[in-house]
Symmetry: D2
Subunit: 144 residues, 4 copies
């Protein structure tokens, strides 16, 4: 990877995550991504829950994932996460899901917006304006 | 079954619900139970979401389930639900999970309390006092 | 939409699908997509489970989804699914998730490959060769 | 607790596990229990996956849980697991779910049988006969 900061989070997988193909069910990878983002955010000194306490959510607006290799129960699983694009209205996180042998099992990106909790339609606000320091930190660690 | 009202709700199952045993993962049955309770409540003219809008939750306090026969993808699944015990502080719902051949795949009960939303410790209040008409309706339809 | 066949499947949502934002958790939409594909396949006279019984799986290779409007408990939810691209090695399904007011809540596509069950690495085979009639049917109904 | 061996497993919780009550959805606790049992089995030198490779499953036959205190995102969560009853046809595991302050959030038991993989009806076999050393180990560590 390039010159951005990459956070690594190991994932705890369980029997519940498998399906009748004998592998981890593909939609279950999606919830791991947020553990990866949480790790990234904590690594740089922030806390997603603080954003919620301040009256905002950061929902997923777009998600793209390519599955390259199945993950099985018993495999170790790690999510690597970085800031791919940092704009006023949108943050794009890149990710790789890697197994214990260092093989990439899946990769892709999630795009997030920031919305006020009380806005039921999830109309985006400027991340840059409501969390200027956090935005600045992303400027420093993002992929260049 | 006996002289109580029994609600029947068909369940939509999916590949996501299976596990590597090739059957529906046992913890996924639990979320079906609330679809069963929702059906029962609607059948008698109430709406659980109205309880939440009025400022209350009805969390599960106790759950007991016996698995008698595996459910597979492709099976039809129905949850039968009734009021087993209706007390001031606790409501016990009985249930059976039945397949398309009418075989009982699982059975058990869930016990619920009513709590005020703003009480973070989920201290119970009297269902009988906060929803007296609903409580009375349960008196009529409960198992005797 | 255009001249392709579009299958419509209503989805049963439950409390289990919600998250602490008060809406349906975004990863839960993903499992609905397979209910949409199952409906499409059944509408044209096939059965995904027959593919598995014949010794094959059709795992997701790529998934792309854009979330446009949150879905809440109490909303009706429908998945509309069609064949977007039908190639020898890849099938792309397009989808829209629509609420009871006909508003598009999410849209995107899933790309699938066909693999032999005994191939643990999920190396793709030609859908066109192993299921030639099914492939031909997709030629007829696909987006043109 | 008493004189039995108690295994402790920390659980990784995520946003996906929450519901619109703002707490962890009650059915999600159930999948933690198997992480607890896996820890216990590994602590004494066995591996559940070896049981499956040998041609057996150990499905849940009965589950009983009492919820005493809600778990929230941000809490640390631990599952404590022990062998409560060790009989020829049934193994009962006791459990407690404990938060970072050492408070019991939930407690109960799961009862398991052992079945041959090829027996689709999940007819139980004698754990004592098919895994005699494992059974003996449970005799040593069980609650007395």
């Amino acid at each position: 990877m390039e010159n951005m900061y990459v956070a690594t989070q190991e994932i705890q997988i369980s029997y519940a995550d498998t399906d009748m193909m004998g592998v981890i069910y593909h939609a279950n990878y999606i919830k791991w991504l947020e553990l990866g983002r949480t790790r990234l955010i904590e690594d740089i000194g922030y806390d997603y829950m603080e954003m919620e306490k301040a009256g905002y959510y950061a929902p997923v607006y777009n998600l793209e994932i390519t599955y390259e290799k199945p993950v099985k129960l018993g495999d170790r699983v790690f999510v690597k996460t970085w800031v791919d694009v940092n704009q006023g209205l949108r943050t794009v996180y890149g990710f790789q899901i890697v197994n214990g042998e260092g093989e990439v099992c899946a990769k892709g990106s999630t795009t997030h917006i920031v919305v006020r909790k009380e806005n039921e339609k999830f109309k985006p606000v400027q991340f840059k304006k409501v969390f200027p320091e956090w935005f600045q930190k992303y400027e420093e660690i993002k992929r260049k």
